[in-house]
């Protein structure tokens, strides 16, 4: 099975540790992962802001770069959702606007092969205990697109529960959006900040040392709020927790 990592533009440029963690984790589980260098961005920011025509070439690029793989793993729920939910729609519209069926066909081929990390681990590899060790109290924030578009369900928390030493605590109001929302965070800064503050308060109230999610864009917003407010909670990507072992420093 040829497995490719789709790192996402945000992780590539700002959070490479999450990508290194995914690679380390998958290699530890015996999966040889590949990183096609032609990959860039899924186009979600463009599409969700109203620039479908700017997103379309990025969808074409994605479909072409990852065409040769059996599985594409990405440490981002919302980028996985962009590909799975939106690419077919962009393909349809492209065809309707006279740019041919090629994208729709390519999208149909690549869509079923795209997995968010927790889906790949649980559904494809069939593992829940990935052999991780993380002796900390953790609260999990199910990001909106993982929860409501991908419907990853309890896969991430099953993975976290199996981590040795990890104490998973409940996050109050977990299913509420953190307020990031891509360009929403700068177009509607007041509401975005209010939602972010409420999420941070929930994380503090949970008593967790670490707030974990499977999407670094949301964590950038939550973490940036925590950092500004000086709240004593750390944010970590799911992959970074699952990559930790008894040998590695915490």
């Amino acid at each position: 099975m040829r497995v490719a990592l789709f790192i996402t533009c945000v992780n590539d440029a700002l959070f490479p540790d999450a990508g290194r963690a995914v690679v380390g984790l998958l290699e530890r589980l015996g999966v040889a992962v590949d990183f096609p260098p032609g990959q860039t961005c899924c186009g979600q920011m463009q599409y969700n802001t109203g620039y479908r025509h700017q997103a379309e070439p990025l969808a074409v690029r994605f479909a072409s770069v990852f065409a040769g793989y059996d599985a594409v793993v990405t440490p981002s729920g919302s980028c996985a959702a962009m590909v799975r939910e939106v690419y077919p729609r962009i393909g349809e519209r492209a065809a309707a606007e006279g740019r041919g069926d090629a994208l729709a066909e390519q999208a149909a081929r690549v869509v079923p092969k795209v997995y968010e990390l927790s889906e790949f681990l649980v559904d494809v590899l069939g593992v829940e205990d990935v052999g991780a060790y993380f002796p900390h109290t953790v609260a999990y924030h199910p990001t909106c697109h993982s929860l409501r578009l991908l419907r990853v369900g309890d896969r991430p928390t099953r993975l976290l529960r199996a981590v040795k030493g990890l104490d998973l605590v409940e996050l109050p109001g977990a299913e509420e959006c953190c307020g990031f929302g891509g360009t929403f965070s700068v177009k509607n800064p007041a509401v975005s900040a209010a939602m972010g503050s409420d999420k941070v308060r929930a994380a503090v109230d949970s008593g967790a040392e670490v707030l974990c999610a499977a999407d670094n864009s949301c964590l950038m917003h939550i973490g940036g709020t925590i950092s500004r407010q000086g709240s004593g909670v750390r944010v970590m990507h799911l992959a970074e927790i699952l990559a930790r072992t008894e040998g590695s420093a915490s």
């Binding site: 533009c9 992780n11 590539d12 440029a13 700002l14 959070f15 490479p16 990508g19 290194r20 690679v23 590949d34 990183f35 096609p36 260098p37 032609g38 990959q39 860039t40 961005c41 463009q46 969700n48 802001t49 109203g50 620039y51 479908r52 025509h53 700017q54 997103a55 070439p57 990025l58 690029r61 072409s64 770069v65 990852f66 729609r89 909106c144 929860l147 409501r148 299913e175 509420e176 959006c177 307020g179 929302g181 891509g182 700068v186 177009k187 509607n188 800064p189 007041a190 509401v191 975005s192 900040a193 209010a194 939602m195 950038m220 917003h221 973490g223 940036g224 709020t225 950092s227 500004r228």
Partner: protein
């Protein structure tokens, strides 16, 4: 829509003020969280909720595909049952028809059942200009009317008011409109309801003309349906001599049987009840029982323009339950007034820019008043994919494109004020199509990280981020460099990478 909302500020600006209102935030949080859990329980009682929801969406879609047919059928059935049917292209025409009908009765006062359609067209203000006083009889509408306020929620227009604010409004203004509130009125909801009962009773018992909307109109039978709780609807629909119903054309359903779906979906979604206390249905007029004169005004006012948009038309499925408002995290913080329309919340953000167009500042900002978290779509009883329509309308604002306004096909120009964003999106797309350039940019950021201040206060639009949040520090190297350095030797061709 109504002139009340003309010149409303853009959503972000209005929300900036409303999110700072601690009282408002507290009231909304309390009310929406109360109803959320109840709705979930009411829905969970029905094992076939998903099937009911699918049928609800399918019936509405079916009706919309043949809307002309069903409206003609409805018109014939209402007329045969003794009603008179009028058609209104826009708000002004609907208001003019209502005013003329009221004047023809010789009356100068009407009692009103809560109705979104009449809020939308600004009927009360239009009637006032004609010397006709409209009394709102729904408790929340009464609170809004007495408080000289605007509605902020579809189901509970005074949701932004808590019990003690309501008591203050009743005490200070009820006397100006009729029977005053008792001097010793407290803020217990039961006492407040009692004060409203006494205040409105004299209006109901003497009313000669009533104005209502309708939740559903059945094409095959000509039946109208009003779903309510307090009994003010029954009072208005039963006691007066003349009834005038103003109803959006999308409220028609084909058959009597179709009500079996909506009378299960609506109460559980809106008030989280198995069934609301009162539902009234009437077909034309009935000899010796209820109003002997019945007028139905079928309202377009932007609905046919919405219908012309194959993505946006699903908004016309809406049954005004307000479940989407109650779960929306943006609505909860910003409040309903920030939406500058009688339709607030997620449904308002897709309905208003379609009914009114996207030309004004507030209407162009509404499609962006969402994080696209999807909670609204999940609870919608007729499965309106609100995030999908939001993004579709964002495209209309940002890129422009074809649309229908006042029945005519037009090409919308990209909105002013999005020029810099458009340029940035193009630049980003260019970089993402050229991975080498992208990599160079990433390296530049990493290479200069020692000079990035830890707590950057950025100028221009980026200040919106940095006012409340720190930026992550640039990493020592982007991921793709780490990969190249540690694993690059072993390939990573990706098949057909295009560098």
């Amino acid at each position: 829509m109504s002139g009340t909302y003309r010149g409303a500020p853009a959503f972000p600006k209005a929300a900036e003020a409303s999110t700072r209102d601690r009282q408002l935030r507290g009231n909304l949080r309390h009310a929406t969280h109360t109803i959320r859990a109840k709705r979930a329980r009411a829905v969970a009682e029905l094992g076939d909720w998903a099937q009911l929801r699918a049928a609800g969406a399918a019936i509405k879609d079916h009706t919309l595909r043949h809307l002309d047919h069903y409206l003609e059928q409805l018109e014939a059935a209402v007329t045969a049952a003794g009603g008179q049917v009028h058609w209104a292209v826009d708000a002004d025409e609907a208001n003019r028809i209502v005013a003329e009908l009221v004047k023809a009765t010789g009356e100068t006062e009407v009692v009103k059942v809560k109705s979104m359609a009449t809020q939308e067209i600004g009927l009360n203000e239009a009637l006032a200009e004609q010397g006709i006083r409209a009394y709102e009889t729904d408790l929340a509408e009464l609170i809004v009317q007495l408080g000289d306020d605007r509605p902020s929620h579809i189901l509970v227009p005074a949701i932004h008011r808590n019990r003690s604010e309501i008591r203050d409004i009743f005490r200070s203004t009820m006397g100006k409109w009729g029977r005053p509130a008792p001097d010793d009125l407290t803020d217990s909801p039961a006492e407040l309801a009692e004060a409203a009962r006494l205040h409105l009773r004299e209006k109901f018992l003497g009313a000669k003309v009533a104005v209502s909307g309708a939740n559903f109109m059945v094409a095959e039978t000509g039946t109208l349906v009003v779903v309510e709780s307090e009994g003010n609807g029954r009072m208005c629909l039963t006691l007066p001599e003349t009834l005038i119903s103003v109803v959006g054309i999308e409220k028609v359903v084909p058959t009597w049987q179709d009500l079996e779906v909506f009378l299960q979906l609506l109460p559980r979604s809106s008030t989280a009840e198995r069934m609301n206390p009162y539902t009234s249905t009437w077909t034309g007029t009935t000899d010796g029982d209820g109003p002997q004169t019945f007028h139905l005004i079928l309202l377009d006012n932007g609905r046919t323009d919405t219908l012309a948009d194959t993505v946006g038309r699903q908004a016309l499925r809406c049954i005004r339950c307000s479940a989407c408002l109650n779960v929306c995290p943006v609505y909860e913080r910003a409040g309903g007034h920030a939406y500058g329309s009688p339709y607030p919340g997620p449904i308002g953000a897709i309905l208003t820019p379609q009914l009114r167009g996207t030309a004004s500042e507030v209407d162009a900002s509404l499609p962006y008043a969402s994080t696209l978290c999807g909670a609204c779509y999940e609870v919608c009883p007729v499965a309106i994919d609100i995030p999908e329509v939001l993004v579709h309308l964002r495209e209309r604002v940002a890129e422009g494109g074809p649309a229908t306004r006042h029945g005519t096909k037009v090409t919308i120009k990209p909105a002013r004020g999005h020029a810099a964003e458009r340029a940035a999106m193009r630049a980003a797309r260019w970089a993402f199509e050229h991975p080498r350039a992208l990599r160079a940019g990433e390296r530049l950021a990493s290479g200069t990280r020692s000079v990035h201040p830890a707590r950057l206060r950025l100028p221009g639009p980026a200040r919106a981020w940095s006012d409340t949040r720190d930026l992550p520090s640039a990493p020592p190297e982007p991921f793709r460099d780490w990969w190249q350095r540690t694993r690059g030797a072993r390939g990573g061709d990706g098949g057909r990478a295009t560098q």
